[in-house]
């Protein structure tokens, strides 16, 4: 294939990727966008396979088949509630793949036209080493993120003395190794670099709390995008540059959106240690607050909602944990059949990844035009009869608006306190991710529904059927 034709096809692939992201601007165009993405990837792979020097098609096909099969099976089997950890897991693979590519390049630079073994162009070597470092950090970092999200290790931030000092020291050694590598071109330094950055990935992410993991995953995603840009410069391949920039912007913007919605600085997330005490504790009323709360049963909740004119559902992380979305939908169907106007209100950081709640509700066949973003619905709470908060906590906490000393002060919240009645469905009195008590629980117009989200929803459904 002429270099012009392949450049043209790579350009077409880039456009496909842009269209893939563009499609996500609306649910109706999103599936078409995804097809664009697949076509783009097929174009990219096909064009590369047609390049001169690529002959071992058997091996390549084998690799694609193995990887494709694994990916397909995982993707088809995974539960939608396990999405955050899945993204983290997939993400670690990108990091590892980048490390492998960098090592392969180092040992066979002539295949990429950047020099010969032991005499690689310095600019390429720098890009290569940075790519390796970013890849390795992404790999172990994402593994930690996966383990925390999956519950394999405690979501609690692991803080120990001198950790920032240690990380700084490792960071410095990375720079030293980079310089040594470029001056001597000795492979040993590359291997040490890999080892150090793998370690660094662990250490950087361990101290960060479980619920900050989505920010971390997005951030790593962004970094790997920029690393791909770097490789694109080395190989003078515009496809890599464009795709890298898309991925890089996407990760950066998602991180920004999350930090903004939590009212925390990006730096404070990265430095870790947040939520050390507060991660959602075990079930049961273990709040250390002696004040009385009004608590009710499923029957009470059913009665209240059935007689309401309008109900707004506020889902949170607890709904995902309990996989309560389907039962919730049943409950809402019954209410709607009774003429109650029901809508859903989604906070930008409800759950454990951006858009988490939207996907779960969509899974339960909730039409997306009943689901509203925070900005769209916040002013409507005042005219709402009943707000049904299911497994959410921080995102409704009025301390974010009233208490300048609260760690979540300044975070935009769903102002459910304006509603006539608030029902809080959670297992006990424990705090949410941010570890702060929620004043709302003690208000007069609040009724707590203690129990697992799914079981309680089932009770309410039963009650509604018999009312």
């Amino acid at each position: 294939m002429s270099s012009d034709l392949s450049a043209l096809l790579y350009l077409a692939a880039s456009v496909c990727f842009i269209m893939a992201l563009r499609g996500l601007s609306h649910p109706t165009t999103s599936r078409q966008g995804n097809i664009f993405g697949m076509v783009g990837m097929a174009l990219a792979i096909g064009t590369t396979l047609a390049a001169p020097g690529i002959v071992s098609f058997g091996t390549i096909l084998l690799g694609l088949l193995i990887g494709g099969a694994i990916g397909t099976v995982i993707a088809l089997r995974i539960q939608m509630t396990a999405l955050p950890q899945l993204v983290a897991a997939f993400h670690s693979l990108v990091g590892l793949a980048a490390v492998c590519v960098a090592l392969a390049t180092f040992y066979k630079p002539e295949a990429y036209g950047i020099g010969i073994v032991g005499d690689i162009q310095v600019s390429s070597l720098i890009e290569l080493a940075i790519g390796t470092a970013v890849g390795a950090i992404t790999f172990t970092g994402s593994v930690v993120a996966f383990a925390k999200l999956q519950g394999l290790v405690s979501g609690r931030p692991l803080v120990f003395k001198f950790q920032h000092t240690l990380n700084a020291a490792l960071g410095a050694s990375v720079v030293v190794l980079l310089v040594l590598l470029c001056t001597t071109q000795d492979p040993i330094y590359l291997w040490v670099l890999v080892a150090v950055t793998l370690l660094l990935g662990f250490l950087l992410i361990l101290p960060i709390g479980g619920a900050d993991m989505p920010v971390v995953v997005s951030m790593l995603n962004s970094y790997s995008g920029w690393a791909a840009c770097g490789i694109g410069f080395t190989l003078q391949n515009n496809l890599l540059i464009i795709t890298g920039a898309l991925v890089g912007s996407s990760g950066a913007i998602l991180s920004y959106i999350m930090c903004k919605a939590m009212n925390r600085s990006f730096i404070s997330v990265i430095l870790g240690g947040f939520g050390a005490e507060g991660e959602a504790g075990p079930a049961g009323a273990d709040g250390d607050d002696d004040r009385m709360v009004k608590s009710g049963s499923g029957d009470d909740a059913a009665f209240l909602m059935k007689n309401a004119g309008s109900v707004v559902i506020v889902p949170g992380y607890g709904m995902a944990v309990a996989q309560a979305q389907h039962t919730l939908r049943e409950m809402v169907d019954l209410l709607k059949a009774d003429g109650v106007k029901v809508r859903y209100a989604i906070h930008p950081v409800a759950g454990r990844m951006p858009g988490h709640m939207n996907v779960l509700l969509a899974e339960a066949s909730v039409p997306y035009d009943e689901v509203f973003e925070m900005d769209e619905i916040n002013r409507d709470f005042k005219s709402t009869d009943v707000v049904f908060v299911i497994g959410a906590n921080d995102i409704t906490n009025p301390a974010a608006k009233t208490d300048p000393k609260s760690p979540i002060y300044g975070m935009p919240i769903l102002e459910v306190d304006g509603a006539q009645t608030v029902l809080f469905l959670k297992r006990g009195m424990s705090a949410g991710y941010a570890g702060v008590q929620n004043e709302l629980f003690f208000r007069d117009n609040t009724m707590m529904l203690f129990g697992d989200a799914k079981q309680m929803c089932e009770k309410i459904v039963k009650a509604l059927e018999h009312l």
Binding site: A13, S14, F17, I18, A20, L21, L24, S25, H26, P27, S30, R31, G33, M38, A44, L49, G53, I54, S56, T59, I60, L62, G63, L65, G67, G68, G71, A75, M80, L83, L86, V87, F90, L96, A97, C100, V101, L103, A104, T105, A111, S218, N221, A228, I231, L235, Q236, N237, L240, I241, T243, A245, G248, S249, S250, L254, M353, G355, H356, N358
Partner: protein, 137 residues
């Protein structure tokens, strides 16, 4: 003319010819240099500047495209960017391409497997999610 004289003359002629050939060669190489330079200039600067141009424009595109993604689809967005960030499979293919099987080829093979997991996994998960966002009757 003595034979020595003839020999000298012939040598001279040969030398002159050689000098000429050298000059031609150096001219040609100069021409080649100029040609390269011209190409470089024509393409609006060196490959690096071209890459930079593409990068900057792509960042603008990425910025706008991503901000235009509706918040409801941020989860699929993460899956899709995950999948397309596996475009580094392009590098892996080049590594695994040669017929012989050395260290680079093995690394390339591993990278292909890993990237393929991601590509298939990412797009399929995204498709599953998006399928759920179909307009309900």
């Amino acid at each position: 003319m003595s034979s020595e004289e003839f020999i000298n003359k012939a040598t001279e002629a040969a030398n002159a010819a050689r000098a000429l050939s050298d000059e031609v060669a150096s001219l040609a190489s100069e021409a080649s240099r100029l040609a390269v330079e011209a190409t470089g200039q024509a393409a609006s600067g060196s490959p690096f500047i071209m890459g930079l141009t593409v990068l900057i424009l792509a960042v603008f595109v990425g910025y706008y495209v991503v901000w235009n993604v509706t918040p409801a689809l941020h989860s699929p967005l993460m899956a899709v960017t995950n999948a397309i960030s596996s475009v580094i499979i392009v590098g892996a293919l080049v590594a695994a391409g040669p017929a012989d099987l050395g260290f680079s080829e093995i690394m390339g093979f591993i990278a292909i497997v890993l990237a393929a997991v991601n590509i298939f996994g990412g797009f399929i998960v995204a498709q599953r999610m998006l399928q759920m966002f179909k307009k309900k009757q």
